[in-house]
């Protein structure tokens, strides 16, 4: 509901939805049916009028952009001051392939780089430890500082903001810091985000990246935040992820609620180290999914901002307004894309992207239309970026801050979504906080139920999806055409693996052993910053796989809690 100053604001207009004439005509023109609900379970009415609630105190209203409670945006100027970052996930082939694709995207208007490592990396292995068929198929293999050097050759490290798909023990960011050191670039000039740092979301919904036990990941994340806050002050060491959980089936409100609960957990963990909230909260960042439920997603972002501002100030005790800002990257939902008639996905992606922009995201990834078939082709990735260029340059969506603010529907929906999100936070609180709730499988169970309910709605055609359960064109070849998947040339992966094993063998074995032993001993000594030692280990030419294996051994393997 909006804060209204009774001295200057006119009385709210009467709610047209309460008008008996309208109600009569509406009833005459429509069939009585089931009440409509959005994905989060909020009742959707056919018409909205002025929000009926009385204006409440500070924190319940809209305020101005950049001011508490941040409903209308986290910055006073929003896109007038700085357009959202156009940040496309890139992860394919070998480092040289990544480099060519990323440089082409930067030339095409991309303002942030995203390095998504190969699945072998995500699972904590070097390329010589996995079946070679899987290397470079969905992400770029990065095992050493030399690899990341190749990935980022010719890209100015201090001019581009980097998102690194990096999870505990954060070897990728460690290699990145070493690369900057080798290039003589001060760490204080680096900007970016450790994007897969939210180990609770990994354990819950994106198991692939969950490598080290919950307790070990917890320590590593706190150490990473601590270290980056001190040494790389413009870096966002944590990205709290609602996206994984929504992709795994959580409703939009649940995903926002779980993410905020995770943020509370991480903040409490840092406070337990005697760090003041205003030291670390300004560098908390978030990452959310954008489904095609257009208004619901906009309201989700607005409600999330308002809730986080209130949580940061009132629950966590932050007094610096920068701590209250829920800055977020958003990605259009791949789960909403369809394999059938894939060109239709272009429309879906544009609608999703509009929700993200109108919802006030700081950074946006638009999916490629062929992602329901395979990793994006170069051609489809360019179109995805141009979708953002068109929305900004031609549709001019960057001109007005929170352009839907004040819409009867959006304001009511923002309130309704806020209540749903709060209910999820309450559930997690009752389960003992996010760490405990994930450890006990509570969150996983709730997400599984939502996923099944959603799938059943598609099965029963309560949820209508073009090309899938309605408007099928299964025989139309042109409608179903897809670009060919690009693969690394035959032999390239094998040659890379051979080069890597030779490089490993050429290192001084005594030096490698000593570095490994140092890493292990710091892991055993719980009072030392372990991430600092990971940075040192990559500088000493330990590989990603060696570091993860040693820390798995010392801290325990990451085993997801699977609830079927």
């Amino acid at each position: 509901m909006a804060d209204r100053d009774p001295a200057t604001s006119p009385e709210p207009a009467a709610d047209p939805a309460a008008d008996p004439d309208w109600q009569r005509e509406y009833a005459a023109q429509t069939k009585a049916g089931q009440p409509r609900k959005n994905r989060s379970g909020v009742d959707i009415k056919p018409l909205y009028g002025p929000v009926s609630n009385e204006p409440a105190g500070d924190g319940d209203g809209l305020g101005y952009p950049g001011q508490f409670p941040m409903t209308r945006g986290v910055y006073a100027s929003m896109y007038r001051g700085q357009p959202w970052s156009q940040r496309q996930i890139v992860g394919l082939g070998l480092p040289a392939d990544y480099n060519a694709r990323e440089r082409a995207l930067i030339a095409g208007g991309s303002t942030g780089a995203y390095l998504s490592p190969c699945n072998s990396f995500m699972r904590g292995f070097d390329i010589d430890e996995v079946p070679p068929e899987l290397v470079g198929m969905s992400g770029t293999p990065v095992n050493t500082v030399g690899d990341i050097d190749e990935c980022l050759a010719g890209i100015p490290l201090d001019e581009i903001s980097f998102a690194l798909g990096d999870n505990p023990p954060f070897t990728l960011s460690a290699m990145f810091l070493n690369l900057a050191d080798r290039q003589g670039i001060a760490r204080s000039r680096l900007t970016g985000t450790t994007t897969q740092s939210d180990y609770l979301s990994l354990c819950t919904a994106n198991h692939m990246f969950f490598r080290i036990s919950l307790a070990g990941s917890r320590r590593l994340l706190c150490d990473h935040i601590d270290y980056m806050n001190t040494h790389v002050p413009r870096w966002n060491p944590i990205s709290i992820v609602g996206q994984h959980m929504q992709q795994a089936g959580a409703t939009p409100a649940q995903a926002m609620g779980f993410a905020l609960s995770s943020a509370i957990q991480y903040a409490e963990d840092m406070k337990a180290r005697d760090m003041a909230p205003d030291v670390f909260l300004p560098r908390f960042s978030f990452f959310f999914d954008i489904s095609i439920s257009f208004f619901e997603e906009i309201a989700k972002f607005r409600a999330g901002r308002r809730l986080w501002a209130r949580i940061a100030r009132d629950r966590l005790g932050a007094t610096d307004p920068r701590s209250w800002r829920m800055r977020f990257h958003a990605q259009t939902s791949g789960a909403d894309l369809q394999r059938e008639q894939p060109l239709n996905n272009l429309t879906r992606i544009a609608v999703q992207a509009m929700s993200g922009i109108l919802g006030g995201c700081q950074s946006l990834h638009t999916d490629s239309y062929d992602e329901a078939m395979h990793s994006p082709s170069e051609h489809s990735a360019k179109i995805a970026l141009n979708t953002q260029n068109i929305l900004r340059e031609e549709a001019e969506l960057d001109q007005v801050i929170d352009p839907l603010g004040g819409s009867y529907y959006i304001e009511q929906l923002t309130d309704d979504m806020e209540a749903e999100i709060q209910a999820t936070i309450d559930t997690v609180d009752a389960a003992g906080g996010m760490y405990q709730a994930v450890n006990d499988g509570v969150v996983q169970g709730l997400i599984g139920q939502s996923a099944l309910r959603f799938q059943n709605e598609i099965e029963t055609v309560q949820r209508r999806i073009v090309g899938l359960n309605v408007y099928r064109e299964s025989d139309d070849e042109a409608m179903n055409a897809v670009p060919q998947l690009e693969r690394p040339p035959p032999g390239a992966i094998e040659a890379r693996i051979e080069r890597f094993t030779k490089w490993k063998a050429a290192r001084d074995p005594a030096g490698v052993d000593a570095a490994l032993e140092r890493l292990r001993s710091v892991a055993r000594a719980s009072d030392q910053n372990l991430y600092e030692e990971v940075v040192a280990a990559t500088a000493a030419d330990l590989t990603h796989g060696e570091i993860v294996a040693a820390l798995r051994d010392e801290l325990g393997d990451g085993v997801p809690v699977i609830v079927v």
């Binding site: 078939m373 395979h374 699977i562 079927v564």
Partner: protein, 133 residues
């Protein structure tokens, strides 16, 4: 006739398991015995479980490219003398790869959006044939 025994699994490195868990639930709800392994299985471990548990059908869920290990899985099943266990794949497989996998003997490939009815019916009929062999 015993109720169908199905191994529901993911091979390789990917961990996206929303699809495999939903399908496991569908098959279980349809009265089948479902052995659910979770992600990250090796080809060898899938064959071992399939043989030890005497399953009628193997279901492989794939999202990010792990389908490339399926030919190796078929070879390993043959080597273990279990080539008759039908393998059903669900998930994201590029169209040209799909043709190749079907030629190599995959019983069926389900795409995202496949219906519960189709999946249950397919697995039930494959398992009826499989369990009589």
């Amino acid at each position: 006739m015993h109720s169908p025994r199905v191994l529901m699994t993911k091979i390789g490195l990917d961990g996206h398991d929303r699809g495999s868990r939903i399908v496991a639930t569908y098959l279980r709800d349809a009265g089948m015995d479902v052995i659910y392994t979770g992600p990250w299985q090796s080809v060898e471990s899938v064959v071992r479980v399939a043989v030890d548990e005497d399953v009628d059908v193997i279901g492989i869920s794939t999202l990010s490219n792990d389908y490339v290990l399926i030919p190796a899985l078929l070879d390993a099943l043959s080597a273990a003398g279990s080539a008759t266990i039908p393998v059903v794949v669900g998930g994201i497989v590029p169209p040209d790869e799909e043709r190749s996998l079907l030629e190599q003997g995959i019983a069926r490939i389900f795409h995202p959006g496949a219906t519960r009815e189709d999946i249950v019916e397919c697995v039930a009929s494959l398992s009826a044939v499989s369990s009589t062999e």
